[in-house]
Symmetry: C2
Subunit: 473 residues, 2 copies
């Protein structure tokens, strides 16, 4: 037998027929990334049923020099889970590692496999009267392992942090097939640096997350959702600080969008309508929550917060959602921005962050600068003001041919945006990761010292370069 | 000139006369650790005045193969800043890197040099109406750099986390003399894993912290300090959960101590008296705070919390400190436990953690087990119940000679305690670090996979092994 055949036979031995497939029909759906930007090939797809199976498989891959591309729900935004086109890699699905332990209400935690889907985790937490406080558009497919590997964000980061902040314990298969197990959380542990942190956000290049113990919090007993119109982003930021001071830890979401984004949603998404009567340069969506049961005066506190904001000239108009239906309608507008934009034509999208306090000045500089440099385009910034993270989209001039524009002007525009963000001390990836989409941009713009250190750690843990090659660094 | 002389001449060139000394009188005080357990020698003591000087010095050390022992306030508990006895190492004081930037009240952060003393940082924050929420006994000497290098704990960890949780940005000189600068915090940054985390808690073995941007929080407007008597540790833990449910994020401290510790303090520390009229098996010190100015009903909420606890049989007796003087007196009892113990005779001290929920069962097993195995000893557990971290001290039988006992039975007792903690899935160092004190115990009891990964990262970043040799791993 060839080495290739020997490898497959041995892998089959470890994984069994459910755990290894070479059927192109079964593999094909997983070879293209969610946004359809990247397409690759794989020699086979492995789906181990346990950490032990996976560890044995990794040791086999090392012996046969087979590259491994780990994949969760395949709904990442940066092509981090798509193999290259050589077909030499083994596609590794973690989706069968989908056990979910009992929710520990008292300890506020739950241990689950890397393949557990975010939506399933939400439901398990809810059934126990608790909540897993991270959510995002791809929750129906995104897995715990993928969320950890990319340190994913979302709309609740303001209060609860990104995925990494919710990881209390971690189990990882290392690039040489050992199991690093730190699932039992210790609140205080001073035996050296926190090794878990090396794997969180490493996009499967340093180890394969197999399970995690995650933090859960009490379910929301009541929420108040507010829509406000403001004059500019600077005022929106002042309003944010005002809200933080008045409702402290109850502030769960603070999203901004410009009038143009609101209009695009109203125009292109059926059954949406503007929350306020008149237009405003910028809009703010605020969510304040309480996990205390019973009447704790949340509505009154929010009304007082808005009243004080009016008095300080921090907003021009505002409305509190009268009920859950209206609250959902407000959020639907926010969640429809990207869809509405797609209806308008091609756009390049950037997921960028700058220091929180610099965001108003950054937007004020970046929007006109891009529009002037690229005539006919429209630059739109919206999203998580409280996290210093906006989605900065540049929409092509009307009538542009998408594919041509994306590979030409679109690429150049992205470089301009990333240059600008770097000059502001920001990040070219705030919550989506680097993957293969931004790998070259990271190499071009990243701090050379930081990249050098990251590469050394990569080489130390994965000297053969078998784990998710071509991603991140 | 010899290589040694060449090195010193070149170092002198970089650092100037204030920055380098070979005067034994100046160096001597820094060659013994704070607890007097370790003593070493150094060829010279360097005190660079800037990050750039330090980076140049490190490059020089690499060229001449000179080991470096970084040191902040020299008040660590594990000998991590004490050189070995060969005298080949350069002792590196970070104390001159003591600039402290303006406190950014709006952004809730401050950037300061590694040499800034904790007490100074407290004062700077207070002057701006803010608070740096980590404190510990050695605050008059402990430096920011040392606190980060050891990821130090303290009594406020329950709410605010250990030192690492307060680090927003970091500057580090790497073992090859590069500067990794990530002082400007980004709330969201997904360019790979968080490299800062590799240095936090690495005890100067992977890099030298030169500056940090630290989180500050609004000053406390009001605090309520409670002393309660409870039946056992299990009930204390139930009381903790009850308090967390009722005052949520306001719960700042939750310390436990046994009756014997209280009695030792009353007996040995002048002007202390028991807060409650009668004795109880265990005592709990609770602090609840609010940073909201004005009357927010904190006292009433605490009274309601205690009343409900009585009804649920979670405490036998409790008193709320009537004023700040009484609140201070309650805390003084807690802070005097170690001093009172020293007055009683020799003891071996252990800084251990187990999973938070396991602490009551751990104490219930460990105390009688140790006392039975080592007749005449008295085992005492006290400290941070909410963090799953107690100080577990074993006091020698009356009349024991200290030095003999420490090097014989004392060592064996420590091994027993560490074995037990490991069996409970806990840590042999919760908040003091490993240093040289526990290095062999970590090697003996640590997870081999974890140690292997840590050693690989050490070798990748410091291939010559020049940074703080003989510490941690």
């Amino acid at each position: 037998m060839t080495d290739h055949a020997l490898f497959l036979a041995a892998a089959d031995e470890i994984l069994g027929s459910r755990g290894l497939t070479r059927d192109p029909d079964l593999i094909e759906p997983w070879l293209t990334d969610w946004r359809g930007r990247f397409h690759g090939q794989a020699m086979a797809m492995a789906s181990p049923a346990s950490t032990e199976e996976l560890a044995a498989l990794v040791r086999l891959c090392v012996a046969h020099h087979v590259p491994i591309v780990p994949q969760g729900g395949n709904s990442g935004m940066a092509g981090g889970a798509t193999p290259d086109e050589t077909g030499t890699a083994l596609l590794l699905s973690l989706r069968r590692l989908n056990t979910i332990g009992p929710v520990d209400v008292e300890g506020q935690k739950v241990t689950c496999g890397a393949g557990v889907i975010l939506q399933t985790l939400h439901e398990a937490a809810e059934a126990a009267g608790m909540r897993f406080a991270l959510t995002l558009g791809g929750k129906g497919s995104a897995t715990v392992g993928g969320l950890i590997a990319t340190n994913a964000g979302g709309t609740q980061v303001l209060r609860h942090g990104s995925m990494g902040a919710l990881v209390l314990g971690l189990e990882v298969v290392t690039p040489d097939g050992q199991v690093f197990s730190a699932l039992t959380p210790l609140k205080k542990d001073n035996r050296g640096f926190d090794l878990k942190q090396v794997f969180i956000g490493s996009e499967g290049t340093l180890g394969i997350v197999t399970a995690a113990t995650l933090k859960v919090v009490p379910a929301i007993a009541r929420r108040v959702v507010i829509w406000a119109g403001v004059a500019d982003v600077k005022t929106a930021r002042a309003l944010l600080l005002h809200c933080e001071a008045m409702v402290a830890d109850g502030l769960e979401g603070f999203e901004i969008l410009p009038q143009a984004s609101l209009e695009a949603v109203i125009d292109h998404v059926p059954a949406t309508r503007p929350p306020l009567e008149s237009g405003h340069p910028w809009h703010v969506l605020i969510e304040v929550v309480s996990d205390r049961s019973g009447a704790d005066g949340l509505q009154e506190r929010c009304e007082a917060m808005l009243e004080a904001a009016f008095e300080k000239d921090l907003l021009d108009d505002a409305v509190i959602a009268a009920n859950e239906t209206q609250a959902e309608a407000f959020w639907q507008i926010r969640d429809s921005i990207s869809a509405a934009e797609r209806a308008r034509g091609p756009a390049v999208q950037h997921d960028v962050s700058v220091p929180v306090e610099a965001m108003p000045a950054f937007i004020d500089e970046a929007v006109p600068r891009l529009q002037q440099a690229w005539l006919g385009t429209e630059a739109i910034a919206f999203g998580h003001l409280g996290d210093g993270n906006v989605h900065f989209h540049v929409i092509a001039p009307q009538g542009t041919d998408g594919p041509t524009w994306h590979s030409g002007d679109g690429k150049a525009i992205s470089r301009d945006v990333h240059d600008l963000v770097t000059r502001w001390g920001g990040s070219i990836s705030a919550e989506h990761g680097i993957g293969q989409l931004k790998r070259d941009e990271l190499a071009r713009l990243g701090d050379p010292v930081q990249l050098d250190l990251m590469r050394r750690i990569k080489h130390a843990l994965d000297p053969n370069g078998l784990l998710n090659p071509g991603k991140l660094i």
